[in-house]
Symmetry: C2
DNA sequence: CTGGTTTTGACAATCATTATCAATAAGGCG
DNA sequence: CGCCTTATTGATAATGATTGTCAAAACCAG
């Protein structure tokens, strides 16, 4: 009963597809991508692979404001955060050491353990900001 | 055509139920609470009222790690963050001025506008930490 | 009260995700 | 090399939250 994790091309395919996508992507989106690429992979398998990668620490997962789970390849064992354009999906990795400490501090000050802080900033990137402004001007 | 927002007992009921619940609560949970309290309110109406309150700034909304939308009565003007026990739901409001500034700073440094930072810390409160420890010890 | 409009509410539709379960394929062992 | 055990896959059903639909009811003004 030694965990016995088998090596399948499907898992590799998901890992690779995740790695070659730029920002965060939903499981559904990744599934579509894989299908486009010719892999006859199953949807359920994509979900399982993503969950597995997330547990193993090879992928980052977060909830979009719309309630979808988004995933991203995350090579670093380190813990970092993101600045995500809520219009075009552009993602920038940001440093958050100060916030890290703050979260730890606040958590333990209240007796909490295992703080999993959700520190992601959604906004509009420069281009989308401009678009939004002109759209509003004409409205 | 002045917005014409009507005053219905249903909206009040949702507002009140939200106010009297301790921490964050899901729309479904709030619906159950209201039904228990005797209000024959409809589920769709609860969703609409919550969305409306969130837009008006009277309610805070966030995504739980499980992907549900959680709501909470929130003082209209202030913007604050939360420390939430992911086991028992205990919620503590936390000050985050430093993080506020940091988010603004990071966002504008990257050309982003309208930063909606998601800064919530999920953890295990003291009681649940103890429980988890003993559970693991016996496992 | 009456009219015009908004809002409600029951239910269907949608969407993402998870469970089911037989068939497949991986990996070890003889 | 081929077999056997068992993890894994994948099509589909099930689930669960949320949103859309639309006729009926409620609200406000005149």
């Amino acid at each position: 009963m030694t965990t016995a994790k088998r090596n399948t091309w499907q898992r590799e395919a998901v890992r690779e597809a995740l790695g070659s996508s730029d920002g965060f992507i939903s499981a559904q989106g990744l599934y579509s991508n894989l299908r486009d690429g010719g892999s006859p992979i199953g949807l359920a398998t994509v979900y399982r692979a993503l969950a597995s990668l997330a547990v193993e620490g090879e992928a980052d997962s977060l909830q979009s404001p719309e309630g979808e789970a988004l995933y991203r390849a995350c090579s670093t064992t380190g813990h970092h955060h993101h600045l995500i354009c809520r219009n075009c999906g552009l993602t920038v990795e940001i440093e958050a050491d100060a916030v890290e400490e703050w979260a730890q501090q606040v958590a333990s000050a209240n007796g909490f353990t295992e703080p999993q802080h959700v520190v992601d900033v959604f906004g509009l990137c420069r281009d989308c900001s401009a678009q939004a402004r002109s759209a509003q001007a004409s409205a």
